[in-house]
């Protein structure tokens, strides 16, 4: 098994104008997704939702502090899961169930730090 991060990139505007019913539907969808990870033979190694990009502060070059997210795009990183999967196909199968109603998800292998040069 290998670790994969499922990064959720969504347009924050979609969530901002959401009805309470739609919001609870998204929360339910995440509960269903988490259950599915195990049903599909994977496991969950972590994951968090991130506060809105308006709360973000960036640091460049180790010292320059600026207001806002690192990249200003329509779709922002809104949260992530870390799952354990057999291979990329397995991770993609799992990630297809991850809710991202206003964008999509990106799947990236998590680097194994025990390797001599993981890059």
């Amino acid at each position: 098994m290998a670790k994969y991060a499922i990064l959720i990139y969504d347009d924050p505007a979609g969530y901002a104008s959401m009805s309470p019913e739609a919001w609870s539907a998204v929360v339910d969808a995440h509960s269903v997704f988490v259950k599915q990870v195990f049903e599909l033979g994977g496991s969950l190694a972590g994951g968090e939702a991130l506060a809105n990009t308006t709360t973000a502060t960036s640091i460049r070059g180790g010292s320059t502090v600026t207001d806002g997210p690192f990249l200003e795009t329509k779709e922002a990183l809104g949260g992530f899961y870390v799952v354990e999967a057999r291979d990329l196909d397995h991770a993609l199968e799992i990630a297809k169930g991850c809710p991202a109603p206003f964008g999509g998800v990106e799947v990236r292998p998590v680097v194994d730090p025990t390797q001599a040069n993981p890059f």
Binding site: A2, L88, A116
Partner: protein, 400 residues
């Protein structure tokens, strides 16, 4: 051989290295002891042994190397596991094709990787086929190989549910592989037979593995019917012969028959896709006694259907050429005028070549000469250039 070795080595680069070492040691031992009865099996065994040696020598090597396959898939000390029967080989090679054509890889890298790894085409030739500088192609292939290893793209034929999105890319790769061999983009020879043979082999394995996929059979039909004409596409001097000038009695009748059977089966199993329709067109040509006696209205009808499922300007150009035979060259000229405005065909040599041919048939020698000159500017293949030059000389003397 590479696909058999990669299963042991678990890493594409290591497998390639071992395969090369096997060739070197083969050269040494064969010049000493003579060529063995089954050189292919000898090389595969040698390459696998190389891979096993390397794995045993350094037990940590496998952990350090990014794995392509599950570590437990091969036990280096289990001889039975390694001596699988040869009939596993086509499936093995298909797995490699499906790995190379994984949707997680950039589309332009998929065919390049297939050419390089499944067919052993040198990177310089792959670069030439894609009209990019060699370092660009080398970087593209390296990036794709790294992603296969780092993201753990599995080495397998995908399950039924995933097939629709992947099969098309695989069929396209095999078709392009055949096309690359069928008309070499550059160089002296028109046909590179080893690429055609490898593509046919893969198409056969795909059709056998996925009999319910009509397009897999359509592709096999298309390749068989096209390849049946291989021997007649050039004359003794290696000059290009058009369909009109080919000796149809020398077409490979066994390949034609098989191609027609396979294509008929594909056509019978539902709405045909682009490969099946192209195969059907090739089938109409294959059964025609001469160019004039070809069922051209049927060819135009098939091109109409092909255009509906695959609306590319190249298909439209071929349809126009068929219209020229069905309804006369004058009927096709307006179609070419329309295509000439398509920027995608701006540097496509077959557009001016087709126009030149229509004008020549209409008796417009001056117009034909202009179009032949333009086609010559755009064509890199020596056989095709020689043909165009000859036609240009003919219309130029008619002009005077």
């Amino acid at each position: 051989m590479l696909s058999a070795t990669v299963r042991v080595a678990g890493d594409l680069d290591l497998a390639e290295e071992c395969a090369q070492e096997a060739y070197v040691s083969a050269l040494r031992s064969w010049t000493r002891d003579g060529v063995p009865a089954r050189p292919g099996a000898w090389l595969t065994t040698a390459a696998r042994n190389q891979a096993l040696d390397r794995l045993r020598r350094d037990a940590t090597l496998r952990r350090k190397l990014p794995l392509l396959v599950e570590p437990a898939s091969v036990d280096p000390d289990d001889a039975d596991e390694l001596d699988r029967p040869d009939d596993a080989v086509p499936d093995d090679r298909l797995r490699l094709v499906f790995t190379c054509c994984h949707p997680a890889l950039a589309p332009e890298a998929r065919v390049a990787l297939t050419l390089r790894l499944v067919c052993g085409v040198p990177t310089s030739d792959v670069a030439r086929a894609f009209l990019v500088p060699e370092p660009t192609m080398a970087a593209r292939i390296t990036r794709a190989k790294k992603k296969i290893a780092a993201a753990r793209i599995p080495y397998r034929v995908p399950g039924r549910a995933e097939l629709p999105e992947r099969l098309d890319s695989v069929l396209t790769a095999v078709h392009l592989l055949f096309s690359t061999g069928h008309t070499a983009g550059q160089g002296d020879a028109l046909v590179r037979e080893e690429l055609c043979d490898r593509a046919l082999h893969l198409a056969r394995a795909l059709a056998a593995l996925l009999p319910e996929q009509a397009e897999a059979r359509g592709l096999l039909g298309l390749l068989l019917l096209t390849d049946a004409r291989r021997a007649t596409r050039t004359d003794e001097q290696g000059r290009l012969l058009l369909l009109a000038d080919q000796d149809r009695t020398r077409w490979d009748q066994r390949a034609v028959l098989e191609g027609l059977t396979v294509t008929a089966g594909a056509l019978a199993s539902g709405p045909p896709g682009r490969f099946t329709l192209q195969a059907a067109i090739a089938g109409v040509h294959a059964v025609a006694p001469s160019l004039e006696q070809t069922d051209w209205p049927r060819v135009v009808h098939l091109y109409d259907r092909l255009l509906a499922v695959w609306g590319t300007p190249v298909v439209a150009l071929n349809r126009a050429a068929a219209v020229a035979f069905a309804d006369g060259p004058a009927a096709a000229l307006p179609l070419l005028d329309e295509l000439a405005t398509d920027p995608r065909l701006a540097d496509y040599p077959y557009l001016p070549a087709t126009r030149a041919d229509l004008l020549r048939r209409l008796g417009d020698a001056a117009g034909a000469a202009v179009a032949y000159r333009r086609a010559l500017e755009l064509t890199a293949n020596a056989a095709e250039r020689a043909f165009l030059r000859q036609r240009l000389a003919e219309v130029s003397s008619a002009e005077r």
